[in-house]
Subunit: 207 residues, 8 copies
């Protein structure tokens, strides 16, 4: 674990057999949390064969071992998904922040086409020390959220959409050009990175 | 005039002398409104030498002759500018719609970083038969407006911004991917086209 | 339903099981039309299991429930497809406009390589209050149609083509640069958005 | 002269002094036609100081020496400009074809927004052995012309336009995706190349 | 057939059943040559069921009916493929030119990395009235060929390559920027268009 | 001031007269810090005429009024510039963070081509609660810094470079793909946004 | 073999049958080393049926025949892979250099997020006459290595990553903008080209 | 000087005063060669005021102090420019290699449109231990040169050209996709980097 944080194994592009080998080695180090990200069903089966008591979140495509996250310290991380299709990235962010030790909340389906939905959650948003906002297509939600709160917003563009969304390029550019300051952008679909960054931001200063 | 609409002369790329020649010819046809768009000071001086009673709007870089627009018919066209830097495109849109015969209103500086500003104008927006929304940088405002009203929104991306705004590409993509239906997109900085389209939409059906 | 318009469920990226769950919930609200767009055969089967009397249009990949569209009001929406390969997007646009309550007509295979074909339909085009023009490859047809009529044209670029069509980027740029004013552009392959926008434009002003 | 064709000197990026040096050398070879392309006023003055009897076409930014083109042989080359702003490229194409020895005709301001204009010239177009079509913005005209005639069309995209025209990229892509076969595309603003290609196509087979 | 040329049916994106329907209709018109391009095995089987005596070229993925091309008239069309991977596009070009009535020759594997190979074929190249040059990756061959001959070169970029070839964008740009004049560019992998254009160029002037 | 933070006036694209007008209004509100960013000499003169005691930092192109920043609270913000050409953006970030109330340090010329330079500053970097890293060209420094410390890194890509740096696109992509987690990316040359974000991250939790 | 170097057969895009035909021909020329690159299992089986004693490296997807590389001459080529996912390209580079006759070493998993890993190998790197550095995502490693050694670095960008890595575009741009001189860039995933180039650089001058 | 190589000062983006300050400091270190690259006349004057005996090459925009290059060691570096417009980059490369201590030769105007020109220089090219090839527009020359010689080729794309040359992107992609192995690519217009790399390649192994 780099600097006390969990290890992360990126499963995409690895065979189930390769991932199984890593999982077997992980078993020797129960003192460190290991996250397996972007795990397809084949990866998950291979990991669970080695680490049967791992936690498997199918929404996020993520497995964690040991299953129990560390006690929650630091400020609250709220993860917001504009639409239900953004859930995979959003959930990956939430779990990553939780396994780095932060308390977390998840809010789904609050896109800007119906402003009342996000406005109804302003109280929760203002309690957060960092807010991750996952959005595809127009990627407009981080600008709106950053205008509502004083804490930093982590903009997480997703590849949700088609045509001129160009695989997430459109929301990525939107977030880089957010008209409200305070938006930190990560790579398209990088829920792991968004959650990691949010957890670092929300860590207690002494940590 | 194509199909009863004003003639438009695009001044960019023409010399003042060329524009003066066109203005001299225009003087022979007072029955048709002629708009000179994208007129720099040199163009304006050349036009005013030929058509001293033309109207010159320096915000929009637009001249109109005859100066008086036609009586207003059809539905209301509201033009919204996210920031003051979007004013040139927005004003070009408003004047074009006005010279095509629509009643118009202009609303400035209502970007999504401070939602209360646009929310305070919802009544006016709901009275419109077409709303033009000019925005640069993240281009998020048309999505928000389209979610608030039933009438069509004309998204007018502007080249305001820098870096990853890529000369207006970012807000253009944002608007093409608007998560609310009902957004009609035109070219970057094309205030003339946006106002023309809005005037066509807001024309009375019999027209 | 947002502002009295149908609900739309975007099936792409959802599993048949997820779509079935939505369809089951829809059954409780027969007062609102629900459209299921981008439905593959697996989606369609799942929806029809829950809503056996839904209408399924295989050309458009669209299902509607209840099956009967609302009585037609407002102006005529004409949908034009440059080639037969543009039919899926064009038909999606037509059905969306029809289920939003507009009378519609569909015209296919009238690309600019044989001008007589579109010229033969000018009378119909001039009767429309809004015309959707679907085209891939060079995307030249909306410019031509906008030059022939006074009503607004909704340019619907499609991903038809290969190589330098770049998945619909080429016709998208063509339409954004239409040399005739009056062209409203939507996202590539966004038949739903094009039909929705056309229906809004063609709605009776009082609506 | 490569293979019996004129020499061409590309002035852009050269200083007037450098161009003057080339012009002085050219004076030694009156048997070969030399074209100076993309000549700004400073270049032109420098060339005319060395070759006072050279022909200078200011529309095209082109100088030719000796001034008299070769006798016209081969088929007719018609050069078409969609708008007046495309004239520089179109005229460069026409003069190049003429100095390579072809008879030429120039037709201006026949864009697709007013189809009657190009339809009125079909007889002339059908007499050509090659037609150059210069167009910016949507670049739609070559598709239309190629559908009207049997001879090859040289599509010459221009940088006329703004925003999503991206310096000529939009009409370039349009022409590469022309829905009518028979369109040969050259580089943006490359009137010299278009005219050269057309002259090669229209050369008599024996040549 | 447009203007006396063959009909072409683009099979990609059509189902075998749709193509079979077209083939059945074609049977009624033996006076016109019909080409089926981009035919996968499923398409070919469906076509051959309707038109058993059609010619099927598996290299090109092309079927022609009636099988016998028209008598050869006009000038020679030489088709050159830089590498063997460019053969599909090159062969599609050759057959198209042949079915439009030109005599043709095909030359394969003469890329610029071994100049002696193309230099050994200069005599043949100089006998052509039009030369199609298919190349992927660096797309350098058309520049070299255009420097060797006086006839026009049709540059046919292919999607052969990977990485920074960007699906044929690299050779497309190379050909548009050919440092020798006389290169006419068509869309990536557009063997049909290249062959059609070459056949038009090489047609006898009277035709 | 939004949520207790300074007001910021973006001078680029405004005339000196317009900026002077804003500065005059600012004089009425000495309780709020106002920052003028991207001020060219003409802007600065106009501002100083209205607010003679404003602070003017010519490296950053920034003016602040009142001149004295608030007392420093929260964690340390370290701003790192890879090269001296990145100084303008870096200094803008530092001053913004300082005027939002954070203690700051600036480190210049520690690019990855000479690793010993950044390694010599690890102690300082580890004392920071947020580190801004400005870099152009390859943009590699944020990855390296993020691997050395536990606090979040704000990656600030600059337009320093030429050719394939594409105006800052290259370092922007590099930072979005940082192989170490914990990198928050902002727009190219957006020193204001980077400093603002860093100040929000480093604010004391209670704030 | 060009100039005494091995022949290379690029298997991607060829059928196993086509590759088998080439392998059969190769058997006639045991004096020349032939490399089969980008061989999928089907290709490998077909080659091994013809050349049973060929060497097959499954990591690299490469087969060589005859199996024994030439005696090592010239300087050392060190191949470095930033992450384990870069191994395929790195191994292809190493084997190519080895079969061109150079001594080689391979170093894996030394990315810049943990600088101590690459710093621990500086002695080895300084013994090399050429170093290939394979990296995806941020592509930052070649800049760091080039700053540590005097020999040339061959930057080998890989398609490892997702989102804004854009299939290897991000590390490609990073390497082209390396802030240390001495970085030679090759195409994305082009391990063969990188190894070939390194072997040429490290050849003994007399060779 | 990094590892015994000259220091280089990149003047673009620096004021003459800043460059003068650096030149004054340089005067204290006559034991190291310093190169000032991309020096405009204002820069040059400022440098020469401090270092009157510096060498100033106006073609390359480069100044060197001390003026005398080190004695030539290692293999020959040949620098080739496709056209005269590529001379600035080519000359910058040659001088850089010379000041790093290599013997150099420069060959100009040998583009692929006239193959005999480069073929006439094959003997010289084959004597080189590294060849730099500068080319804009189609960038085809490095592929051809790499096919003629066994030594490495450094491909130096230039921004010469217009339109679809996209500021050097076209030749950059061409060189990355060179169909002959052995091409090392550097950034657009980076003559300094190309010359530096070639000098490293051509250094004597013991160096
Ligand atoms: N989903 C993810 N997205 C981006 N980076 C990741 C992800 N999961 C893991 N990583 C990073 O990838 C590294 C592991 O890569 P690997 O050694 O290939 O498994 C970890 O140290 C993380 O920094
Ligand atoms: N600002 C503008 N943006 C886009 N198109 C315009 C603009 N102004 C005028 N036009 C169009 O350009 C045509 C006139 O172009 P021109 O003949 O070059 O002056 C008019 O018919 C309009 O359709
Ligand atoms: N306007 C032009 N556009 C593109 N290529 C040109 C143009 N004018 C001349 N050329 C080509 O550039 C070559 C001359 O370039 P140069 O030696 O730099 O003057 C000629 O042989 C032509 O092939
Ligand atoms: N250098 C800058 N870069 C990006 N955004 C800025 C910058 N300076 C100010 N801003 C933002 O722009 C807004 C002011 O814009 P304006 O009203 O046009 O002056 C401020 O509220 C800031 O959020
Ligand atoms: Mg905020
Ligand atoms: Mg709406
Ligand atoms: Mg119209
Ligand atoms: Mg034709
Ligand atoms: Mg030629
Ligand atoms: Mg860190
Ligand atoms: Mg080095
Ligand atoms: Mg070679």
């Amino acid at each position: 674990a780099r600097r006390g944080y969990p290890e992360a194994v990126y499963c995409a592009g690895k065979t189930p057999a390769q991932v199984a080998g890593i999982a077997a080695a992980v078993r020797e180090r129960p003192d460190v949390v290991t996250l397996f990200t972007r795990a397809e069903p084949g990866h998950a089966a291979a990991i669970l064969a080695e680490l049967p008591d791992a936690r498997h979140d199918t929404d996020a495509g993520l497995l964690a071992w040991p299953a129990t996250p560390p006690p929650a310290t630091g400020g609250l991380v709220v993860v917001v998904a504009a639409g239900t299709s953004d859930l995979r990235a959003a959930r990956e962010a939430e779990l990553t922040a939780r396994y780095l030790g932060r308390p977390t909340e998840l809010v789904v389906d609050v896109g800007v086409a119906g402003l009342h939905r996000i406005l109804a959650r302003v109280d929760l948003l203002r309690r957060a020390r960092a807010v991750v906002v996952a959005a595809g297509m127009d990627g407009a939600l981080p600008s709106v959220v950053a205008g509502l709160i004083a804490a930093p917003v982590v903009g997480l563009p997703t590849s949700v959409g088609y045509g001129a969304a160009f695989g997430g390029l459109a929301p990525l550019l939107t977030m880089l050009n957010a008209c409200a300051p305070g938006v930190a952008v990560v790579n398209i679909d990088n829920g792991y990175g968004a959650g990691h960054l949010a957890a670092q931001i929300a860590a207690d200063p002494a940590a």
